[in-house]
Symmetry: C2
Subunit: 195 residues, 2 copies
Amino acid sequence: MQDPAPQRDSYHHGNLPQVLVREGAKLLAERGMGQFSMREVARRAGVAVAAPSHHFGNAKGLLTAIAADGFARLAQRQAKAAAANPDPRDQVIAMCRAYIDLCVEEPGPALVMFRLELVDGSDPQFQDRAVHSFEQFSRAVAHASPPSADRSQIDQIAKTLWSMMHGLQVLRMITDDEAEGLIRFAVGALLAGPS
Amino acid sequence: MQDPAPQRDSYHHGNLPQVLVREGAKLLAERGMGQFSMREVARRAGVAVAAPSHHFGNAKGLLTAIAADGFARLAQRQAKAAAANPDPRDQVIAMCRAYIDLCVEEPGPALVMFRLELVDGSDPQFQDRAVHSFEQFSRAVAHASPPSADRSQIDQIAKTLWSMMHGLQVLRMITDDEAEGLIRFAVGALLAGPS
DNA sequence: TCTCTATCTGATCATTGCTCAGATCAAAAT
DNA sequence: ATTTTGATCTGAGCAATGATCAGATAGAGA
């Protein structure tokens, strides 16, 4: 919540990596991936164009850090959504909504989190955080599933919902209002299983 | 199916636009969107770097044409899938598979078809073909839905499946083998609706 | 105080998208 | 048959980008 403050107090920046991640996310939110550039991020951070490369290696490195940060925020939102709902099924629905909310409120990270060509999937921190957020969701699905459901079926439901959430957002097939109804319908149907 | 043949017979190319779309799709398939470049497409077509701009305006124009072509091919595959299956539910399942098959067998167009930032969504041909392929799918869902299902529910099922298909593919959450089972499960559950 | 090392600068290089004047050619008009 | 017209393509040029590298700077430890 609190800003780390130091924007530039001396030759050394203080915490350039954090600032670059933040400015990068802001730039993504403002202009989208098409207009994203390392140089512009450096400019906004008030630093030489080559500085970011020192910390992140290349553009993919910075985007990976932004995406990893996004997954951490998603996990936070998911946890909060789960905590606010006692009923297991409501938890799943709320966690789906948490992802949509993330996309709306923090569009920067959301634009790169699931773009496997843009990020370095082998980065440990990225991997950890991505896996963690999905497993958190998967556990909620397991909780909400009927006792008759086995491991593979739970896995199918989680993957279907996870994919659906992403697809809905990227294809822009629904407005924010419709989202609630569609999520409730899909969660209900998938948890119930085929007739 | 048949190649239009003329690769270069004179100063005028013959059918540069078609060749550019084809070479562009091939380049996308080989190197992905990250390494895609207008200049490389021009090079492969054996033409000056400025030639593509004359036909497509800019990079987005060419990508839009590639995507539009992809939607036409998808519609073809969907129609064939439907024709091969008498049972309505099997038709829906086969049409879902048709999309996955497209992504595997023609990865070039698939990489841009659903990327709204990369293409010009207002292009009439692109719009027509995209809408047509979705409506074809939507009609199949309507056919397979129980009589009790109303228009809005059918719409929800179609959108959910359409989004899921895209999400599954882009997130690479399933192997080709798992796809069949997962699709059958999702289609069955969604058509049945919440318990 | 001196040394060491991470951090950051400034410049360079190859590549890209886009633009524009002009060359080339096919087809219509005369 | 000749001219004109207009679409197609060329070649050069411009601004911007990602990446790299030697070197400047300063904080941290000896």
